[in-house]
Amino acid sequence: MSREDLHSKKFDKLLVANRGEIAMRVIRACHELGIKTVAVYSDVDRKSPHVRYADEAYNIGPAPARESYLNIDKIIEVAERSGAEAIHPGYGFLAERATFAQACYDAGLVFVGPSPYAIRVMGDKLEARRTVREAGVPIIPGTELGLDDGELLEAAPKIGFPLLVKASAGGGGRGMRPVHDPAGLPDALDSARREALAAFGDGTIYLERMISEARHIEVQVLGDFRGNYIHLGERECSLQRRHQKLIEEAPSFVVDDEMRGQMGAVAIEAARSVGYVSAGTVEFLVDKGKRFYFLEMNTRVQVEHPVTELVTGVDIVQEQLRVARGRMLRYSQDDVKLHGWAIECRINAEDPYNEFLPSIGTITTVILPTGPGVRVDTGVFPGYEVTPYYDSLISKLICYGETRGEAVLRMRRALEEYRIMGVKTNIPFHQHMMDSHRFLSGSFDTNFVEERFSMSDREAPDALQAAILATLVAHRQGQQASQIVAPGERDTSNWKWLSRWERLSR
């Protein structure tokens, strides 16, 4: 039996095991390909767009992810009940759990992604390093798996400081600690292990050389069941805060055609080393000398995939679906040409003026930016509640330009047009970044946001206008109220009640 008989078949109905913007993204791609969609939702997501835009929708439990979006049995059961023949996991939640991909296969469902084997190998950072190194992929020097604290303390000087303590099962910066001198190592081992254990149920950690002034650059790869591979060029993802990417762009300022070809070839070798199928991303650290080292492979579609779509024209999610249906890649490497420049800003519900603390609340108003060169991928709407249950990403704003400059100017325009009210967002952070000389000149590394970027020098040019507008609204409220309250009885303590009246009367 060939591999594609096992893991792919033509399907006409697909379950999306996710929520938010990525669920919308997958539903839209299915819609465009004529595939029926089944949404699953937790109790707090009944009104979410992915539920409303799917053809069918099933409740899978309470808000906490482990009782709903991480509940493998429940999701497989819904797939069977609804007649879905395939499952797309999106990113996050179950996307990189080999057990979930296996459960899909065991239930006779197509898993839109790589094999459980590829997920497992790449999900274990040390095994991934070993595997790709054997395939000739350059890796960052570091320790082997399974060392105890004593051995790690001993190994550290050989790797050299600064170094990173990393969790084998980690991701998104969790379970990772930078250590600048031997004295800080014991504490870092403790806290990284604790965080990894809490987050992933696996406290295995290891050490790795820290590349200073490094850029985080990743390569998008696609593979099909016939062993064909292509890469779609790189994404520059160095602008991060606490290892959370904030702004991504394609192409990268520092990658030229030759380097792109080299990184692409290496990325394909990494994918081939695990028989990779579907869309995946090979992340590299790039040092000052433009040497690149394998960091990890993300075995799923990335949050930032749209920037690659805009500069290559390839619809990555549609391509995932085609491959999962047993078709060959639509493109050969020669078909892939980069054109123009794309930038993505992740719009998070967080306060950029207060340590980027998450902002909880109900979104009251959303006005999308639109017009030339602007794409918005979002899963929120007026009335949507930002809860502590899920991550704070509420939207992705992606702008395209013929040149990087044009893309930046368009992003500035789109950020200004985007109105989200009810929670604080990091839009001012993005605006400040788009205005910064360091960003404009492309000279930044992975530490730039945390170490050399501050919101405190951002001017607030419209404070006067804000004062006037608030005063006018307050005044109007008072005026309207005075029509129903006798003048003598009116005092400021009435205002709160008047506000309710005002809302009623709109």
């Binding site: 340590e355 608030a470 005063t471």
Partner: protein, 172 residues
């Protein structure tokens, strides 16, 4: 009618005298303000300069979104402003600065204890929320007057976590 409106620490004396005119700190502007139905969106022409904004009332202040930036404005009429001034700046009943939880979450760690000195910006509490560990910091130099919660506690948004009094040297 006269108002005192405060935004980003700046006070503006705003006089809405009649239809189409407004005086701010003694400078007069021609204004035209339009409310878009239902949406909370306003269009202001201020001496022909166009500003689109969303204005919503929240916790006794006004939130104003302009060009991506969110401004929190306190609007007081003259009487309310005088009243507050007479009472002095209300900080807290005891004069302590209170570190509050900015969102619902789980207390991971309390990094200070009562009686300890802290500096402005020093981490005092680690709160887990939305899958992230968040560090809450002191808003001033001072001494920890009280710790209201323990590690492992679930807290609500706005809940008081730690009280910080002004440092001994500052006390009169």
């Amino acid at each position: 009618m006269k108002y005192i409106s405060t935004v980003k620490g700046e006070k503006y004396v705003i006089d809405i005298d009649q239809e189409g005119r407004i005086t701010v700190d003694e400078q007069t502007y021609e204004i035209d303000v339009q409310f878009l139905s239902d949406s909370g969106v306003l269009s202001l022409l201020l001496d022909k300069h166009s500003i689109e904004a969303i204005v919503e009332e929240r916790d006794d202040t006004w939130e104003v979104l302009i060009h991506g930036e969110l401004y929190t404005v306190l609007v007081q009429d003259e009487r309310a402003f005088r009243l507050e001034k007479e009472q002095g700046t209300s900080f807290d009943v005891s004069g302590d600065a209170i570190v509050k939880s900015p969102m619902p979450g789980l207390i991971i760690d309390i990094l200070v204890e009562a009686g300890q000195s802290v500096e402005q910006g020093e981490k005092v509490v680690i709160l887990e929320s939305m899958k992230m560990e968040n560090e809450l910091r002191s808003s001033r130099d001072g001494v920890v007057a009280h710790v209201y919660v323990s590690p492992g506690a679930s807290v609500e948004k706005g809940q008081a976590l730690v009280a910080i009094s002004s440092p001994p040297s500052d006390q009169s």
